[in-house]
Symmetry: C2
Subunit: 319 residues, 2 copies
């Protein structure tokens, strides 16, 4: 199977919203009037972001999910994406699974595959995604206000728990391992919540490198500090009901685990009811974990309400 057959068979579909889709030098797209565009790019590398043994269907899903998560963090509506794929060989079973997982998630969000590139080389998946928001309604990292409540969506820490289990540092009951693995391999981009929080959240980011690290980006960009109630945060693991996670491991997983693809955002206490409505409208759980302060620092509060110190580090590819 040649390069063009491969694209034709697994990745080329009729253009829907695109004026020109896969198959010309460029894809051509007419933006919606009165809208701003949001762009993000993420690259997944075998051995770094996933193991060679991962289910290709899950990998296809995750490759797009991590990109959609960035759109969610801006409150953007997905529109289109480009896929650049480096493959050691044209393995049809792998391609069938990968493209199915990828395109199922794309269809779920009406996000159209409009172009890309295919080449031979070490397995590498690079996606650029485009979404849009009505002009001026993108939610940025820089808008957090002193006094804002601090929230996270969904569950945190389970992907890191799976990683620890794969590394052999812990042993999990099968049910907890299965759930943790699914959270690691098939994250749910919080598009609907991000959308519902337009005009409500003051600042937002997605949690890919760990809560503390990604919240840190909001604090830096907004020039504020924050307090996190660690006992509330530590209860956010979805696997929490399936086994008894040691407290220090739970803290590490939730606060600096990474690979969560949940949203962390701040909103004024005066719109707390609107945050709840956005949560219900998007069928996405939301938990208040703390507040924005003028301290310029991130303070973790223990059970007793006193600051605690934890050795935390968010993920850095070159650290």
């Amino acid at each position: 199977m040649g390069e063009f057959d491969l694209i034709e068979r697994y990745f080329k579909r009729p253009a829907l919203r695109a004026d020109v889709g896969v198959g010309d030098d460029c894809a051509v797209w007419t933006p919606r009037l009165g809208h701003q565009l949001a762009f993000s790019a993420d690259m997944l590398v075998e051995g770094r972001h996933f193991l060679s043994t991962v289910n290709p269907h899950h990998l296809g899903h995750k490759s797009l999910a991590v990109n959609l998560s960035d759109l969610a963090a801006c409150g953007a509506t997905p529109q289109a994406f480009l896929l650049s794929l480096s493959l050691p060989r044209a393995d049809e079973a792998w391609l069938a699974g990968f493209s199915k997982g990828l395109l199922e998630l794309a269809d779920l969000h009406a996000c159209e595959l409009i172009g890309g590139d295919t080449t031979q080389g070490p397995l590498n998946i690079a996606i650029t995604v485009m979404g849009d928001t009505p002009q001026g309604q993108s939610i940025l990292r820089s808008g957090a206000q002193v006094g804002d409540d601090l929230y996270v969506s969904g569950h945190l820490g389970d992907a890191r728990l799976a990683l620890e289990a794969f590394r052999g540092t812990i042993s999990l009951p099968q049910a907890a391992l299965d759930l943790a693995r699914l959270r690691m391999e098939c994250p749910t981009p919080r598009i609907a919540l991000g959308h519902a929080l337009r005009g409500i959240a003051n600042a937002m980011a997605d949690i890919s490198d760990g809560l503390v690290g990604d919240l840190g980006h909001i604090l830096n960009a907004s020039r504020v500090g924050a307090e996190i109630d660690t006992s509330v945060a530590a209860a956010l693991m979805q696997t929490g009901q399936l086994w008894s996670c040691p407290e220090d491991l739970a803290m590490t997983c939730v606060l600096s685990g990474g690979d969560d693809y949940e949203l962390v955002f701040s909103a004024s206490p005066s719109v707390a009811d609107q945050v709840l409505m956005a949560s219900e409208a998007s069928a996405t759980p939301v938990t208040r974990i703390g507040r924005i302060t003028d301290s310029q620092r991130l303070v973790l509060l223990g059970l007793d309400g006193q600051p605690v110190t934890l050795p935390l580090q968010s993920f850095d590819h070159f650290a």
Copy 2:
């Protein structure tokens, strides 16, 4: 040096046209009113598209040039790009050269780096580029008309000649080798010509996989055939005046060499003078190499005007 330092030091610059550039979850961009967007993505892999010994400044240039070439082929004006980069290690000398070559070319075309990703892994450079054209003025592969003249820009075959020299299949005089190598490592995207051909060219593509293969895309999309005058084509090598290239090698290099990043386009004979004016306005040589026919086939004509048969194959990563 960590991931964020690396981005900060080599790739983050103040947002110019972007509403939000590098450093949030997404870049935010307001499209120009009345314009369509053109998108393309290309991925370069070490050992496949370039050798580890390549000058990083040249590699930075080429990584963006091959993407800009796709915009040129649509007649689009470059606007912005995203860079996803997988690196074995954070080598500062390499990064300094690479980013310089990349950003110099970006600045030359006012194409703004608005986002991307950096990770550790085998060297892989994935760029997605965005340009725009006034609504409806993109030049597609599908518009060629029977009777059109067929043109190419600039020079062809020199990059392939360099590849043959590196492979050791030929020996070149130093001056020819230097020029051929420069053509391979530092292609010039024909943005100005593509722009000038809006409303003039009926169909256009860039030549990345070889003239015959890329012209083939135009013929398939337009459901037409073509004749190429091979003696005119074979004279298009820029190295042609520096050494005496054997005729069969010249044919291979020019017709199916690849890595040229020139434009192949068709235009009605009635606008031949406008093609010349576009060539002059963009300071880009243009050569008429044949015409579009209704034969549904690509016919190569020899010196005597009779069809010749050559064993040609355009580049395919999985063939």
